[in-house]
């Protein structure tokens, strides 16, 4: 039975998430590297005020993902594949050995800073449940304009899609979606229009920064955000990391490719259990676990047996 680790992205954070990690050597080392490099205390990252800023959220998720992976690695519990949603892809890249943790911290800091500076409060994201992609695309095309940009962004499940852009545009798409029979359509508590072309420039800046760091061949194949392909070359993963923020995350397809490659055990790395729930719905015959729910010991045991 093949296995895959799923690393969550923004939305899964919660106050105190780094303090909930096991208090062991692996975690301590990772946190020490991070606090030294970032020159912050760990409690400055996962407190309520800090987590209002995307940079702290993204760094906390990266630290949490990598520290958790180290716990598995220590037990030689290594999956066949990795995939990460949005910023989670950086944790996946570190886990597969493409990027050092230090470099990932630098790039994710930059990613957070750039995202915070580009747009004001008039931008964000929404989520629509119960409409399929072609229907939502039709609605978005009706609403979208230069003054009121809005895009279909992440494909989390066939009928769980996000929209990104101007708040005005998102609000209109939400209204139309509700009238078109969506089960639910609402604004997300996110102040950045992620995963749409409004962040093209962020991608180019990230690519520049990624070109300056060492990129290795992945030790574990990585399922990509942009094109939902299994990537086995460092250069391809570098591109995926840079452009994911300005393109939709094809999450459903990215996990489907893992399933078609034989994965029947999906383990979600902390925090929370958003991605394992999506996997459970998409692949009812697979085993889907979340470390945050089952704990490290159980997940390690299942992976090794």
């Amino acid at each position: 039975m093949k296995s895959a680790f799923l690393f969550p992205g923004q939305g899964s954070q919660y106050v105190g998430m780094l303090h909930d990690l096991p208090n062991n050597k692996e975690v301590k080392e990772i946190i020490e590297v991070a606090t030294d490099l970032l020159k912050v205390k760990i409690s400055d990252l996962d407190n309520e005020t800090a987590l209002r800023k995307t940079k702290a959220v993204q760094l906390s998720l990266l630290i949490c993902g990598v520290a958790s992976f180290e716990i598995f690695k220590q037990e030689r519990a290594i999956p066949d594949y990795v995939a990460g949603h949005s910023v989670g892809a950086f944790s996946a890249a570190v886990a597969s050995g493409v990027l050092s943790f230090e470099d990932a911290l630098k790039i994710v800091s930059l990613r957070g800073e750039l995202m915070e500076t580009f747009y004001d409060s008039g931008f964000g994201m929404g989520v629509v449940l119960g409409l399929d992609e072609s229907k939502l695309q039709q609605i978005v095309e009706q609403v979208h304009s230069d003054l009121q940009p809005v895009y279909v962004s992440n494909r989390n499940a066939p009928t769980q899609l996000t929209i990104s852009g101007s708040i005005n545009g998102i609000q209109k798409v939400i209204d139309f979606s509700q009238r078109a029979g969506a089960m639910s359509a609402k604004l997300l508590n996110v102040s950045t229009p992620s995963h749409c072309p409004l962040f093209d420039e962020v991608s180019y800046e990230l690519l520049k920064a990624l070109n300056e760091v060492e990129i290795n061949r992945p030790k574990i194949p990585y399922s990509s955000n942009l094109r939902a392909r299994l990537l086995r070359r460092g250069e391809d993963i570098k591109e995926d990391l840079a452009f994911s923020i300005s393109r939709p995350v094809l999450w459903h397809d990215a996990t489907n490719v893992l399933y078609e490659n034989g994965v029947r055990l999906f383990i979600e790395i902390p925090p929370k259990e958003v991605l394992s729930k999506l996997a459970m719905n998409a692949f009812p015959e697979s085993r889907c676990m979340a470390v945050s729910k089952s704990g490290f010991d159980d997940c390690i045991y299942i992976l090794q047996n």
Partner: protein, 551 residues
């Protein structure tokens, strides 16, 4: 004279000579016809040559999984550019051999379990697509322009001479072996075990070159097991309509049922609802279908005269053996299936094909494709059309004759069942099929339409039945479909007056017209409401796979 001399020099046994050479090349590895399990990769590297056409047994249920896992381990420097023929692309390594550079081109029928990967690989130029086929077409081409150089297939048991027992899951093995063996190709068979005496011989040793004992039994999928717990009231209503408005009306005696819950509901209503209508012996007596567990109640209550199977079904082996009056069985007692012959029977010899659709356009063309996926066809289009070559008559076939011209003929019944909306408010009835987009994305020659509108004789929704065969006018057929399409884009076109006129002329029928009360469509009508009850009705002979056990 010169000409005759030249002719005399020409060899007419090049294929046979080449085969002898290949077989000699592995003499140091093999023991008679037996390839030792651990030597299989090495043997494949010698027996298969670059550019070979290799037919690999991977079908709906049975998979030559040990041989496919071995093929992906060969050295691509030695074995490459293979042209694979796989009826059902089901396992990851079926496509891994392309990623590894071992194979280049594919011809197939069905790729449902790998439909995203194959679409991506076509888009990325990692796989050269020959064509998408129906089963019968692909099997046919094995004897014409896709003749295999090597066959990699699976059987249950072999004896030391290479005679094979393939048992309940004989499926397509004889066809693949025949096409290869009788054109001097090489036939390699994985078996679960070698025994002194076989229960029966399904394939004789003279068709077989090598056998290898697999490290694990071949993979077998319980594809046709439907848990009655998941059957809905709407499916029961539709099943009642089909029984009254189609099976009873036309006297349908021979038929095929597919994999859907819709048809499972019909099977489970035969001993209850249909029995109460006095239809026993008048409909549904002769079947072409897999040993569906949901057919157990109908068999037990004496509805079923015969069943011919494409393949076996996991857990049904003992039940089938104990009901040999109904099933095709060997001297040993176990089921004999044959996918090629069952497909032919389903194409030419039955009154009716019925299947579910996910999408249908205004003219009745239907498709099950999804954007970004290439799933292929399987066997539905073989059975879901009116075969022009048919010459024999049956009551149901004859009943569909709509003219009294001297050369008038009957028609195969092709029924499509759909609920007007799928999950997520997705209308089934649409202006344009997604298949057209998929054609462009995957650069296919033709749009992957499962059943063509011109072949469809009946469409059934929760609103009613459209008797499409009664009209030659495409405008009128469109009106008929619109009248039962609910509030979908197509359904919104129709006006109530038209529907009234169509009802009066008998072109459409509502449940009320068929004297069916919607309130009666309840799960209590099902002859078995869950897997446990199927087991009980089988007298404990049916042993469902673990994942279907609820107790």
């Amino acid at each position: 004279m010169v000409l005759i001399n030249d002719l005399n020099k020409k060899s007419w046994t090049t294929r046979h000579d080449a085969k002898k050479k290949r077989i000699e090349s592995v003499q140091n590895l093999v023991d008679g016809v037996i390839i030792p399990t651990t030597k299989i990769v090495e043997a494949l590297e010698k027996l298969i040559q670059p550019g070979d056409r290799v037919v690999l047994e991977g079908n709906n249920q049975k998979q030559a999984s040990f041989l496919s896992q071995s093929l992906v381990q060969v050295n691509p420097k030695k074995v490459h550019d293979l042209h694979m023929i796989i009826s059902s692309i089901s396992r990851p390594e079926h496509l891994d051999i392309f990623e590894e550079g071992i194979a280049r081109k594919i011809d197939f029928s069905y790729a449902g379990p790998q439909s995203l990967r194959i679409a991506q690989m076509i888009e990325d130029g990692k796989i050269e697509l020959g064509d998408l086929h129906t089963y019968i077409e692909l099997y046919g081409r094995l004897f014409v322009d896709l003749i295999p150089s090597v066959a990699l297939v699976a059987a249950d048991k072999a004896d030391r001479h290479g005679n094979l027992y393939s048992g309940p899951n004989t499926e397509e093995t004889p066809t693949l072996v025949e096409a290869t063996a009788f054109r001097d190709g090489i036939v390699i068979v994985q078996v679960n075990e070698i025994v002194d005496e076989l229960p029966r011989v399904d394939i004789p040793s003279s068709w077989v070159d090598f056998i290898v004992v697999a490290d694990q039994p071949y993979e077998l999928e319980p594809l046709f097991t439907r848990d009655p717990r998941h059957i809905t009231d709407i499916q029961i209503l539709q099943a009642m309509m089909v029984i009254r408005g189609i099976y009873e009306k036309h006297g349908v005696k021979s038929l095929n049922h597919g994999i859907g819950f819709n048809t499972a509901a019909i099977e489970l209503l035969l001993p209850t609802y249909a029995e109460s209508l006095g239809l026993k012996g008048k409909i549904c007596t002769n079947w072409v279908l897999n040993p569906h567990p949901t057919l157990i109640p109908a068999i037990e209550s004496g509805w079923v005269e015969s069943v011919h199977c494409f393949g076996g079904e996991l857990g049904m082996e003992k039940y089938v053996e104990a009901r040999r009056d109904v099933f095709f069985t060997g001297k040993d007692g176990s089921l004999r299936s044959n996918r090629t012959l069952a497909q032919l029977a389903g194409q030419y010899a039955v009154d009716l094909f019925i299947g579910s659709t996910l999408q249908m356009d205004a003219l009745g063309n239907s498709s099950t494709v999804t954007k970004g996926r290439v799933a292929g066809y399987g066997g539905a289009p073989n059975m879901g059309h009116d075969p022009g070559g048919r010459r024999h008559s049956s009551n149901a076939w004859y009943d569909l004759m709509t003219s009294d011209e001297p050369l008038a003929r009957g028609k195969k019944l092709v029924v499509q069942v759909a609920e007007t909306f799928q999950e997520a408010n997705k209308p089934v009835f649409v202006e344009s099929l997604d298949a057209i987009k998929v054609k462009d994305q995957a650069k296919l020659a033709v749009a992957p339409v499962m059943i063509y509108g011109e072949d469809v004789t009946h469409v059934v929704t929760e609103e009613g039945i459209a008797y499409l065969y009664k009209s030659d006018s495409s405008a009128e057929r469109r009106e008929m479909i619109a009248s039962i399409a609910g509030v979908t884009p197509i359904g919104m076109e129709h006006n109530p007056k038209t529907a009234e006129r169509l009802r009066e002329r008998g072109l459409i029928a509502t449940p009320e017209d068929l004297k069916i009360r919607r309130a009666d469509a309840k799960r209590s009508l099902l002859a078995a409401k869950n897997i446990d009850e199927l087991v009980q009705l089988s007298g404990g002979l049916y042993t469902p796979p673990a994942k279907f056990r609820s107790w």
